[in-house]
Symmetry: C2
Subunit: 106 residues, 2 copies
DNA sequence: TATATTTGCAACCGATTAGTTTCTTAATTA
DNA sequence: TAATTAAGAAACTAATCGGTTGCAAATATA
C-alpha cells in the first residue's frame, strides 16, 4: 500500500478531516458527525492519516482524540519549494521589465 | 472522474513528470524516455495533468511540447497557507517562551 | 506517392480505493 | 453486574487507477 502524504491529501474527505482536527483534537465520532459517511469510513481515513504520521492519537479512557501533526505538513511545503523558486524568479523578471519601462518613461 | 490538483500530484510518476517539464518544455516521447513505462502511460498522465490545468501544450508540427503551468502550483501553496499560519504561530509561541527565559536569566 | 514518425484514443486487466455492514473489544454507567 | 457507548477490524462491493496492447490520424521524409 502506498502511504505517503501526497496520497493522504488526495482525498477531499481526508483534507476536510485535516482541516477539522487542525483546530482542536477530536474523537472519531465527533469527526464523523461532520460528514455524510459512517464512523467506520472516517476511522479508515484516520488510520491512513495516522500511518503516514499526519495525525497523532491521544487515548483518554475509551475515547481517542485525534489531532494534526503540523510538522508533517511542512513536507508539502518543502516539496513546493522547488516550484516556489520558479514562480518567484518569474515574478522578479516581470519586476525588472516593469522598472525598466518606468526608467524609459523618465 | 475526480480531477483536481491534489489528485494530480498524488502519483509519484506524475510528480516526476512535473519536475521534468518544470525545467523545459518536452514532448511525450522525450518524457517517456525517463521512465520505465510506455509512452501511452505517460500520455495518460499528461492528459490528466492538462485536464486540471497543471500543464499546457504547445503544438509544433506533429510534436507537442508540454510545459508546467506554474501558476496552478500556487493553489497548493494557498491551501497550505492555513496550516502555515498554525506552524508559524507555534514557532512564535516557542520564540516567546525562549525570550522570556532569557529575560529571567538576566 | 509510399513510408516512417509522433501522438492520442479505446479497450482491456489487475490492484487499489472509499465506502458499506457486521462483529469484537474495552471502558463507562445505571 | 448488566447495559450502553466508543472505537477498531474484517469481509465485501462498486468504482477508479495505472498500466498494457492495438489502432487511427496527422505530419514529416524518402
Amino acid at each position: 500500500m502506498r502511504r505517503d502524504i501526497f496520497q493522504a491529501i488526495a482525498d477531499p474527505t481526508r483534507r476536510a478531516i485535516i482541516a477539522l482536527i487542525a483546530l482542536q483534537p477530536m474523537t472519531p465520532n465527533a469527526i464523523a458527525e461532520n460528514f455524510h459517511t459512517t464512523r467506520q469510513a472516517v476511522s479508515k481515513h484516520l488510520r491512513m492519516l495516522t500511518e503516514c504520521d499526519l495525525v497523532k492519537q491521544e487515548y483518554q479512557g475509551r475515547e481517542i482524540y485525534y489531532s494534526l501533526e503540523i510538522e508533517k505538513m511542512k513536507e508539502i511545503d518543502q516539496w513546493l519549494d522547488q516550484y516556489r523558486k520558479i514562480w518567484e524568479s518569474r515574478f522578479n523578471q516581470l519586476d525588472q521589465v516593469l522598472s525598466t519601462l518606468k526608467k524609459q518613461k523618465k
